[in-house]
Symmetry: C2
Subunit: 216 residues, 2 copies
């Protein structure tokens, strides 16, 4: 019974996700769903991108259970931002995104970040209609996480290792981690960055620019 | 419709949780549910406790979506451990714990740790029948998390701030964080520790011993 209901929800979700994708494509918006544990650096990555990506129009959809802390930080930079408070739900779904899309002037947007709820599990199960799924693992979380949260690591198009500036004070085997992630997800793009110092951010920006060129 | 199903599940869960609690009490087992984001230090806290808590018999129930990495680490220390692989579920529930309890010789156990799935959201919604809920926030996750994940911070009996050894290299306002947590959860016990260096672990052990004295 429980599984049947879940399947229904996912069926509806995928239908709405397909409509979101159509709407984004029609308006030439490239949408990127950013997922991670709480505090791994989703907002920091968006803020670094706002600072470093020139000549493109950005918008951000912020997902949180409660509060507008992250949306406020982004709004301060002059970027259009819509907050979704899920009121307890542990992930965004396609319907929440469709409501947010209706609030934005899509014609004027080149790149949209969708910052998901901080959670390494449930967000991986719900397509929103995005073009790319990006996940962030921060160094302090440990190099064993692909074994323990496999769906997130296998569904991501891009895995970003953040807080690389902490490498001298932490035990994290970056080589073993990267080899394992590539093993379970051979097409993944891997970036190592520090949103605090800016190290590695330029590679991420180059990838974003190549994504925007690929647009139909 | 969706909400109705969820209420049914929670109703059944609470009934099974009450039976778990009865079974634990009858056998004189004190059970502690440990929750946090991935990599915040649940297993490390258990390993530090195994090392420092003398004269008490421990057992551990390990919850993970996949893998037995953490259970293996605990088993190596000679502590009885039961692994629950949730197969995708983002939290433990009371039924999973009841199955694990049947695998243990409860009569011989003083203290049981239940290591929940790494997730700052869903585990807070499900009672297992435990006596205490302990949550860990690690310093790198940031001091704004009580605003964004309020249920976890208000339902916890104990909040542990881990990785305090990283304080010199991170921006984390411990005073503001502690004041906010006490504001939304006045009865909370707060500990600041480093499972890496052992700093603050003795306060945690003293609290555990006082818990074991309170047993009926």
């Amino acid at each position: 019974m429980k599984v049947k209901v879940l399947q229904n929800i996912l069926g509806v979700n995928d239908q709405i996700a397909a409509r979101n994708r159509e709407l984004l494509d029609k308006n030439g918006v490239r949408a990127i769903n950013i997922m991670s544990s709480p505090g791994a650096g989703k907002t920091s990555l968006i803020l670094q991108t706002i600072k470093n990506l020139r000549g493109k129009s950005l918008a951000v959809v912020e997902g949180d259970i409660a509060s507008t802390l992250d949306a406020d930080k982004i709004g301060e930079k002059g970027v259009e931002v819509v907050q979704i408070n899920t009121g307890g739900e542990c992930h965004l779904d396609a319907n929440m995104l469709s409501i947010a899309l209706a609030e934005l002037n899509l014609k004027t947007i080149d790149l949209m970040f969708i910052e998901n709820v901080g959670n390494l599990i449930c967000p991986a199960e719900f397509n929103l209609g995005e073009h790319r799924k990006v996940m962030i693992l921060s160094l302090p979380e440990g190099d064993d996480k692909p074994f323990k949260y496999p769906l997130m690591f296998t569904t991501a198009d891009v895995v970003i290792v953040n807080k690389i500036d902490l490498r001298p004070v932490l035990d994290f085997n970056l080589e073993a981690f990267s080899a394992h992630v590539r093993g379970i997800n051979p097409d993944v793009k891997l970036f190592t960055i520090s949103c605090k110092t800016g190290e590695g951010v330029s590679d991420w920006i180059s990838w974003l620019l190549s994504e925007l060129k690929d647009e139909p």
